[in-house]
Amino acid sequence: MSRYAAMFDRLNGEGAFGAFLMLGDPGLETSAALLDAAVEGGADMIEVGIPFSDPVADGPVIQAAAQRALAAGVRVGDCFDLIRGFRERHPQVPVGILTYANIVVARTGFMRDAAEAGTDSLLIADVPALEAEPFVRDMEQAGIEPVLIAAANTPDRTLERIARLSKAYTYCVSRAGITGTHTGGSFDAGLVQRLTKFGAPPPIFGFGISKPEHVRAALAAGAKGVICGSAIVDSAARGEDVTQLIRSLKGATRNDSAPQ
């Protein structure tokens, strides 16, 4: 059983909480410590960015994180080393990479190296379902689970393809825009229902999560989990202890969690 499937089993209906961090931000040592802190705070799964110079799907917070990592001289190979170290310390926690197409195609054997480091899934922000098939084939050959993005404006015929190609989970975006610019609180139950109808892997909302009420709203819309990125990255950049933020967001995924 894959680490994601095992995680959903363990959670037994409780919402999954994914913490996103940019690998190498602001440097390798701090980055490794932040990954551990995310697990300590209660993250069920970790999503990691491999920094790219031109992240068109990202807002200012994640852009700045990528820039800090690149300015620190972080290379793709270093990112795999960070994942490898994390995998040794946390054998059960699923790890997914979120990055851009050019990072993937520039490295011969990217999928193999990612798999060998202990990566479970890969989402390529600028590869839509239309272009995904060759990438998905390579991922499956390497033993990595593909994750595709489904948006509220994605038509049914594309959602069917996304449902067929995705494995670990389905990354849902409820509204237009880039990361870190959503005010949260509005999650499209219709998207979740359409994905469920097509038999997609568990839907997880990925944009617009920064407060416990957003987590509850996303789960109320039928999602099986949430991923929080910009809020965590921003908190880390301010030098705060991210475990507190993660603990409060994770708390909102529990079945007995009620709005205060």
């Binding site: 110079s53 799907a57 852009q63 050019n102 993005i149």
Partner: protein, 383 residues
């Protein structure tokens, strides 16, 4: 999508899923418009009676006489950019959009977009690298004068590629009301195909004019390549002819160093701004900083059809340094009374080289824009 959007193995539509419906809508509007005589008639009317087409094909009198200049510098707005912004502007109307966004480097495409925004009544927002805003104050003012808002982009290297990133981010949130009027034959499908079709008129006219003036086809057509819209527009109608197609890239301070914009000559295949194409990048796939004296050629990617024409061998691509371009800029001004854009001076510089090697060779050079925007820089460089 109805078309493949591929040029051999290049091209495609590599954008976040959220933008795919907007690109599908654009492709549909473009294809429907191609079949609509009313659209063609309106565009043609604007091209002739507003923008000033056809542009002349001018034989050099004092430079080698076998060089013919296709005078896009005489088009309204001062460059070939106007051809395709009129086409995309009409498509945006057809789709019911009320707002245009565009990226610009030196400001030529921003000015062209501001022109169409004013003419056709759009709210217009231009993203421009903060570095370029500083360097091109006059063009910034021209855009503002025509009612466009210019937003300086502070991210990344603060130049053209960062302006494209920012325009794509805006579009991800605004596509319902907004058309992204991309400025060159690059980016995700359908832009490379659509922009080529709107620029094809350059080569179509030049070919007919040469047949009329000389009764024969040229031996070669030469155009500069940044993103590649003026080159693909000039090449398109010659692709089936026995004519050499030569694209001239910015060799900047020299192809042996890192300070150039010669994507096809020194780049490696990759994916950026929606397309599979050649890129200047490092080993990890991080996009490189580029350099050219001409801001319009200072771009680390290139239109995917050029990548295909290079690999298939149908077109040749060469480099021209800042110094060679500057010498050609000066020569055209002194000998013919025409001040070319720095971009176009790259094409001319290569044509002058060819004319020395093969004086009998008849060439059409794409004079893609006029040099007014560059005179301050030229004054400093030639001093």
């Amino acid at each position: 999508m109805r078309l493949s959007g591929r040029f051999g193995r290049f091209g495609g539509c590599y954008v976040p899923e959220i933008l795919v419906p907007a690109l599908e809508q654009l492709e549909a509007a473009f294809l429907d418009a191609q079949d609509d005589p009313a659209f063609g008639a309106e565009l043609n009317d604007l091209l002739m009676n507003y923008a000033g087409r056809p542009t002349p094909l001018t034989r050099c009198r004092n430079l080698p006489a076998n060089i013919y200049l296709k005078r896009e510098d005489l088009l309204h707005g001062g460059a070939h950019k106007t051809n395709q912004v009129l086409g995309q502007g009409l498509l945006a109307k057809r789709m019911g959009k009320t707002r245009l966004i565009a990226e610009t480097g030196a400001g030529q495409h921003g000015v062209a977009t501001a022109i169409v925004g004013a003419l056709l009544g759009f709210e217009t927002v231009i993203y421009m690298g903060a570095e370029d805003v500083e360097r091109q104050k006059l063009n910034v003012f021209r855009m503002q004068l025509m009612g466009a808002e210019v937003i300086p982009v502070e991210s990344g290297g603060r130049t053209l590629k960062d302006a494209i990133n920012e325009a794509l981010r805006d579009w991800s949130a605004s596509f319902e009301t907004t058309h992204y009027l991309l400025g060159t034959a690059a980016g995700p499908h359908p832009f490379p195909t659509m922009v080529r079709e709107f620029q094809r008129i350059i080569g179509r006219e030049a070919r007919a004019q040469m047949l009329e003036q000389l009764g024969r086809l040229p031996d070669a057509v030469v155009a500069c390549v940044g993103g590649g819209s003026n080159a693909i527009g000039l090449f398109a109608d010659f692709i089936g002819d026995p004519v050499r197609l030569i694209g001239v890239e910015a060799a900047g301070k020299g192809l042996d160093g890192e300070e150039h914009g010669a994507t096809l000559l020194r780049g490696r295949r990759g994916i950026l701004h929606g397309a599979d194409t050649y890129l200047l990048q490092d080993e990890d796939g991080q996009i490189a900083d580029t350099w050219s004296v001409s801001a319009g050629l200072d771009y680390p990617a290139v239109g995917p059809e050029h990548a295909y024409l290079k690999d298939s061998g149908r077109a040749e691509y060469v480099g021209c340094t800042d110094a060679e371009a500057l010498a050609a800029f000066k020569a055209l001004a002194e000998s013919e009374g025409i001040i070319p854009a720095f971009e176009s001076a790259h094409a001319l510089a290569h044509a002058l080289k060819l004319a020395e090697e093969k004086p009998e060779s008849i060439m059409i050079v794409g004079l893609s824009g006029r040099g007014d925007k560059d005179v301050a820089q030229a004054q400093a460089l030639l001093a």
